[in-house]
């Protein structure tokens, strides 16, 4: 079959082409899409810019000391004689409540993630995942309300504490709020461990629990760490729930039953009363800048770890 038939003329007639309007419209749309695509970077930068903008003047003012801001416990923004802006009490408050929340949430979340991933039948799994999603959907103000009314009564009744809105209350409520996110990321981390690990362990005669304990948990540990970090990020950034559940005292708490206030709640509580562009107002914005930076770092770290886990999938 080496003889070639003589070349025939190419496609008869002109090829169809798209209307100029269609081509133009498509180009406009694609540019809009590109613009939207990079908007996230723009918004993150904008958030930092506008918050910093309101806070900046106070950094260069003579009466304000950054050192006192960060390291003093004395927060008296409305004093007539001696105005002081020390947020150390707030920082410790945030640390205590978030720390307690994560401490409570992690065992339950990990346990649930392990149960859902390894010990559970498919129907129950779907059901539990739905419940977790619904738990995650509860608005923070409702959680705050629960803390203020239900939980505070329970705490007073069970522990005899003088006041029901305190570190313990905030910790429990925040824990309930963090559980969904820690559970779902932990579940992803466990799922990312290849099935071959499980099969190899079972082939060696391990029970399900031994497989989990000796093989899966060590293999998934970076993903589990990321889950905890994201939970911490959520806890630190929460506003309304802690505003309503932890009370109003700006100090370093000496016990679980002390009222306390977090960085986030403080801004929410006092912003309404600070007159615009006053020093108090600007210091609150500065607290916002600090919060932005803290959660930025936590989320960045967690994201770098999570992306490593998800890519392995």
């Amino acid at each position: 079959m080496t003889a070639h038939t003589p070349p025939i003329p190419r496609t008869a007639g002109p090829r169809p082409s798209r209307s100029a309007l269609a081509v133009f419209g498509e180009r406009v749309l694609e540019n809009l899409i590109r613009l939207s695509g990079v908007s996230a970077i723009f918004f993150v930068l904008a958030i930092f810019f506008f918050v910093f903008r309101e806070a900046a003047p106070v950094l260069v003012s003579d009466s304000f000391s950054l050192k006192q801001f960060l390291f003093s416990v004395e927060w008296y923004p409305t004093s007539d004689i001696n105005v002081r802006y020390g947020i150390l009490g707030l920082i410790v408050g945030t640390a205590c409540v978030s720390g307690l929340a994560v401490l409570i949430a992690v065992p339950f979340s990990l346990g649930s993630a392990i149960f859902i991933g390894e010990f559970c039948g498919p129907r129950l799994r779907e059901g539990l995942k739905v419940v977790i999603e619904l738990l995650a959907a509860i608005p923070s103000v409702v959680w705050g309300f629960i803390g203020l009314t239900v939980m505070s009564r329970v705490i007073v009744a069970v522990t005899g504490a003088p006041v029901g809105v305190n570190v313990l209350n905030g910790g429990i409520i925040l824990a309930l709020m963090c559980v969904p996110i820690i559970t779902s990321i932990a579940e992803d981390a466990l799922k990312a461990v290849p099935d071959s690990y499980r099969e190899a362990a079972l082939a060696l005669g391990a029970t399900r629990w031994q497989t989990v304990y000796r093989v899966l948990l060590p293999a998934a540990k970076t993903g589990l760490l990321a889950a905890v970090l994201l939970g911490v990020g959520r806890a630190v950034g929460e506003t309304m729930a802690v505003l309503m559940a932890t009370g109003h005292a700006v100090h370093i708490p000496s016990s679980l039953f002390d009222s306390v206030r977090t960085l986030t709640a403080n801004i929410a509580a006092e912003l309404g009363e600070a007159s615009v562009a006053s020093e108090h107002y600007r210091v609150l914005f500065l607290t916002g800048v600090l919060l932005f930076l803290i959660t930025f770092v936590i989320n960045l770290t967690a994201d770098l770890v999570v992306r490593g886990v998800r890519r392995e999938r």
Binding site: E26, A268, L271, F285
Partner: protein, 307 residues
Amino acid sequence: MAAEFVPPVDPATRFGETVAGRRHRRTEALVRGVFLSMAVAMVLPLLLLVTYLIVKAAPALSLEFLLDVPRRGMRAGGIWPALVGTVYLVLGALVVSAPIGVMAAIYLKEYARDNAFHRAVNMAVINLAGVPSIVHALFGLGAFVYAARFGYSIISASLTLAIMTLPVIITSTREALNAVPQAFREACWNVGATRWQTIRGVVLPNSISGILTGVILEVSRTAGETAPIMFTGAVFFKAVQRGDLLPYGLNDQAMALSMHLYTLSTQVPDVPEALPYATAVVLLGTVLTMNALAIVVRFWLRTRKKW
């Protein structure tokens, strides 16, 4: 004649019970029980709390409660202006964030090459999702209320909410787009379709349900937010007609369900107990219903797959 073969181990015990086996089974059962109870520990509070809230709210829950305006300094009456206000804010946020969010997700999945810049964009989306709600409030205050001079208004509050919930839409749209097999896109490219023609012809029609889920989730999230609107447009009280469907202008401040719950439970003394509980139940009910709707949509779309 060969000697009879005697197996080295007594066949009766080969696959039978061993001491170690029994111990392992007990541990296994114990562990399973522990983890099950941990999972239950999550379900139970949810059920108990919802029940408790409904019980406490029952005296005040009624159609009147939904339609009536607050009276006697919010110690009586209903929540109508807050309900309508929430609808305004949610719709306002949706109108802005849905198109931007969907287009952003389309860009990230269909157009973006894998390079450092786009990894940064991805990280920006994650970080946007992690910004505390009070920082969003500060941003809204600085950017929309003051810099853009919209003042305290529904516009400022809606825009603040829009940026806050953008990541929700971006993430669910991306999941929906990822679910469309790459083979379809390649088949389209092979016949000379442009990226947009591929998206419009094959990818988008098959992602709509996933995008819809994202929109529902966004609505639910927006309805529950308090801090971002507290300082940008939500207000303690606004005089409004009972049952009025369009009581607010875009430049007005508005009451909102989430804000109202906060107000009732912390700023108003001597409120009859049932009132804040009823407000909480309405808010929670709305949010949970929408989430349940999103879950149903997701299940439904699993059955309708075209491939």
